[in-house]
């Protein structure tokens, strides 16, 4: 509980200091705020770190790039003054189906116009504990603003991570018997049909057994609380058409029964830890059954496409 208390304090500090959003004034409502969108960060491995930027008035920051400066804050037992860490330039990653934008300057947008996150690649944290990221953005028409937000970094990944063997999961498919369609894909709960049957042909176990690479999205398009899950699954479906010869494409639905709070075993195997589950996640598994890469929340569709393109064409 001590760690929770500390991070609460850090979060409050971040939310209420540099962004100056404590007074509810119109100026405060124009100040940039930040929230880390990446989960399961851990030490000594290059990772992506995504941050959402927004204003208190409901507007979002979209397009261009932003600067990230990371600082180490110590642990719950031994908090320290911020100690400078890595720096990076973060690129804008749009929600699939929304525009990428042009130019290098972040722009204030409505959610209907654009929505996405800013992501830095190859960030390595050298110590477990609490970190913060200071985001600097030169906002079109507003000038430079900064916002700071904390997050935690663990000693080990809690979820399957690159370099580890993929779990040989028998996820539900359209061939599964005696299973409600909505347990295979929550989209079926809306109109009674599975929207992307091609993503429900293979189990992860079968792909590994047949030495076929797999791109696996864990998501619940209907019951997702965030705004990303549906578009994320749609993006994987589009990738499956373009790179059909490079990998098998699999959607693992999170919920076996949403109303009764029953999670599908396939999703639980990969994502359910200590009573919690985060989604969406995207995993790229190599032909040898090793996890090649993973993406939390949003991903750059073109980047995933490039990684698929690097795989040798499959036989058969």
């Amino acid at each position: 509980m001590a760690s929770l208390a500390l991070i609460s304090a850090l979060a409050l500090l971040a939310a209420c200091s540099s962004s100056g959003s404590t007074d509810g004034s119109s100026r405060a409502k124009d100040m940039m705020q930040a929230e880390v969108a990446t989960t399961d960060l851990y030490v000594n491995a290059p990772q992506r770190v995504a941050v959402g930027l927004f204003l208190a008035n409901g507007k979002l920051l979209s397009f261009g790039s932003a600067g990230f400066r990371f600082s180490y804050l110590g642990t719950a037992q031994q908090p320290i003054a911020p100690q400078a860490g890595p720096q990076a330039t973060a690129a804008y990653i749009p929600t699939p189906g929304t525009p990428q934008g042009t130019g290098s300057t972040p722009t204030i947008t409505d959610p209907s116009t654009a929505r996405g996150v800013y992501e830095a690649e190859g960030v390595t944290f050298d110590a477990p504990g609490f970190w913060q990221v200071e985001v600097t953005a030169d906002i079109e028409g507003r000038g430079t603003q900064t916002a700071t937000t904390p997050f935690s970094v663990a000693t080990q990944p809690a979820l399957p991570a690159p370099g580890q063997p993929a779990l040989r999961t028998e996820n539900l498919t359209i061939h599964s018997k005696g299973v409600p369609l909505a347990a295979i894909d929550s989209g079926a709960s809306v109109d009674g049909r599975i929207p992307d049957p091609g993503l429900h042909e293979w189990t992860i176990a079968k792909a590994i057994a047949e030495h076929r690479p797999a791109l696996v999205v864990f998501a619940t398009p209907v019951y997702c609380i965030s705004r990303f899950c549906g578009p994320v699954t749609d993006a994987v479906e589009q990738l499956s058409r373009r790179y059909a010869d490079r990998a098998e494409f699999i959607h693992v639905e999170i919920w076996r029964n949403f109303n009764k709070q029953v999670i599908n075993k396939g999703a639980a195997d990969w994502l359910y830890r200590d009573g919690s589950l985060t989604e969406p996640w995207l995993y790229l598994i190599g032909a040898n059954g090793t996890i090649l890469d993973r993406w939390s929340s949003l991903f750059d569709v073109q980047e995933v496409g490039r990684e698929l393109q690097q795989l040798p064409p499959m036989k058969g």
């Binding site: 929770l4 409050l12 404590t22 709070q261 999670i263 589950l277």
Partner: protein
Amino acid sequence: MVRGWTRDRHNRRAAGGSLVPVLGAVLAAVLVAAVALAACGSSGQVPVPSPSALPSGSLGVVTQRDADVTMRGLCEVLAVGASDRDRANALFYDRSHQELHVIAAAAEVRDRPAAGRLLQDMQRVEADLRGHRLPATFGGDVKGLIAASANALAAIGLTAPSCG
């Protein structure tokens, strides 16, 4: 209040088809999101159920004002109808969409089926809006979403203004 980047988090009791008791463990990042998004003017506390607390879920608190703004947005979408897809899209995503997610997250704590219906009806409307032209069913789908939203709000003790 924007809560746009909080990933879905499920503190659930069950996995794999067999019920597994689980305590409501909260990851640190959830706390970051909840606290950071609770607005600085708040007490700064993670929402904890209490008789006086506003309804809340994993995405934050829902106030009656939030509910009013969200529902008015849906009413405007209904008024626009299927004739102006871009206007309907802007109204839906700029006025109502994100807050509907917050309402669903709050409702699922108290009435899961109500939250489920709300999310299903949202999915219908979102599917309609993905097309270049809105289908003839759009008005009915929006009405369904308004009804599901009102039901979810009732589940968390808030009222929904009627369109009209």
